[in-house]
């Protein structure tokens, strides 16, 4: 797996998050892992197939998810992660996958993406594709978003 394959995906977040109105987007720790895991309260999962197979999992604590949903909904207060708030987060994930598809396409890979699936719960543990993956912490005004990008070479 060429580590450079990950960079368009990482770049995507730094384009899309500020574009969606989320401020103070800064990169934290970056780790290569043997397998992807995404085990916070709220996870948005996007599948990739075609020229590149894998998954992108964006995972965050509930408080962060609420703040992000609120920003996505023009500052409307979000008390609970109801359908509306989940739609807002799903919309953000959609923007990320559309952007990633464009950037990856420019790099010569005809990748296709699935609509986002949102997973919420307590004490979640998970295994997202058994492939080499990159874990990136992204710090924002809404809190930390952990990005897991798993790609099959």
């Amino acid at each position: 797996m060429d580590a450079r394959m990950f960079s368009p995906f990482v770049d995507t977040f730094f384009q899309v998050l500020p574009g969606a109105g989320i401020k103070k987007v800064e990169r934290g720790r970056l780790t290569l892992k043997e397998k992807v895991s995404a085990a916070r309260d709220v996870t948005a999962l996007i599948g990739l197939s075609g020229g590149l197979r894998g998954n992108i999992a964006m995972t965050m604590d509930e408080a962060t998810a609420k703040k992000i949903a609120s920003i996505m909904m023009m500052g409307r207060p979000v008390e609970t992660l109801d359908d509306m708030a989940q739609s807002a987060i799903s919309e953000l994930a959609n923007m990320i996958s559309a952007n990633a598809m464009t950037i990856v396409g420019q790099n010569g890979f005809a990748m296709q993406v699935t609509p986002p699936t949102l997973i919420t719960g307590e004490r979640i543990s998970c295994i997202v594709s058994q492939v080499k993956s990159l874990n990136v912490e992204i710090y924002t005004e809404a809190g930390m978003i952990e990005i897991n990008i798993g790609l099959e070479s």
Binding site: V36, T43, L45, I46, G47, L48, S49, G50, R53, G54, N55, A57, D83, Q86, S87, S90, N94, Q112, V113, T114, P115, P116, T117, L118, I119, T120, G121, E122, R123, I124, S125, C126, I127, V128, S129, Q130, V131, G150, E152
Partner: protein, 287 residues
């Protein structure tokens, strides 16, 4: 050679929806009519391979138009579209010789299945199974679920009902999620309890496993992977140009696990097995 489709519907929305659904490399919309009368005229002029026909239309309704078309060309392939799907309507359509009836709102895979099925019919008389869609993508998943369970776990199992999924899927504790891309994109989710997953895994591998064993998760992931691979291969073979491809599976376990795919319309297939119950949620982006 592309399949030439005549679309007859008084709603521009449906014209647009069908144009969006049909893969350009396999289908061509050769004509569009706004009512039954235009449909009959266009059919004679254009001799399309297949017609999609709305039922309720001004000037001449779809059933009358279909009757007219079939009188002149008994081999005409017509798919009736209707928001209504009651028994009388189905009977009337059958009596006229309509081979396929699709209820609105239809999902893209259903439309492509219907087109594939109607185009594959060659000069067969009668209209048996007019309203049935046994080759639908859901049927492919049902068959694959049963076959894979039997094949991998040697399990006795029986298919329960298949019903539309309303809202969020409340997990029993373990969910495997696998994305599908292609002309239609969506996802399939296998949901069960951790206990049932352990039993299933034991039956697949001939050993006992603990609840915390990661191997159970890998086994369930592979189970869904194989099942979905079989189902989508089958669907791809039946429907030209759909080109479904799978993303790798992901497994989630947790308490109060809820799974929500806001952009997806899904159905749930239930399966009772000797190891316990399993649900398979199959959904694609709505048309």
């Amino acid at each position: 050679m592309k399949i030439r489709v005549l679309v007859v519907d008084d709603s521009p929305f449906i014209h647009k929806a069908i144009a969006r659904i049909l893969p350009e490399d396999a289908y061509e919309i050769c004509g569009s009519g706004k009512n039954g009368q235009e449909g009959v005229e266009l059919y004679q002029r254009l001799a399309p391979d297949v017609v999609t026909m709305d039922i309720t239309m001004p000037i001449m309704d779809g059933l009358a138009a279909a009757r007219e078309i079939l009188r002149k060309d008994p081999k005409a392939k017509i798919i009736m579209l209707s928001a209504m799907g009651d028994e009388e309507l189905v009977q009337e359509a059958k009596a006229i010789g309509i081979k396929m009836l699709l209820q609105k709102p239809f999902k893209a895979p259903d439309m492509l299945t219907a087109l594939g099925k109607v185009c594959a019919l060659d000069d067969q008389p009668g209209a048996e199974d007019a309203a049935q869609q046994d080759d639908s993508y859901l049927e492919c998943f049902r068959t694959a679920l049963k076959d894979t369970l039997t094949g991998m776990a040697g399990l006795d199992c029986s298919l329960g009902e298949t019903a539309p999924q309303h809202g969020v899927l409340e997990s029993k504790g373990l969910a495997v999620i696998l994305g599908i891309t292609g002309r239609m994109s969506g996802r399939v989710i296998l949901d069960t309890s951790r206990e049932v997953a352990c039993k299933l895994c034991g039956m697949m591998n001939g050993e006992e496993y603990g609840l915390e064993d990661d191997f159970v998760l890998f086994s369930m992931a592979e189970f869904l992977n194989i099942l979905s691979g079989n189902a989508t291969t089958n669907i791809n073979n039946k429907q030209r140009g759909l080109n479904l491809r799978l993303a790798p599976p992901s497994v989630f376990v947790g308490k109060r696990l809820n799974i929500n795919s806001p952009k997806v319309k899904a159905d749930i297939i239930r399966m009772e097995t000797a190891a316990g119950d399993i649900r398979l949620s199959v959904g694609f982006e709505g048309s």
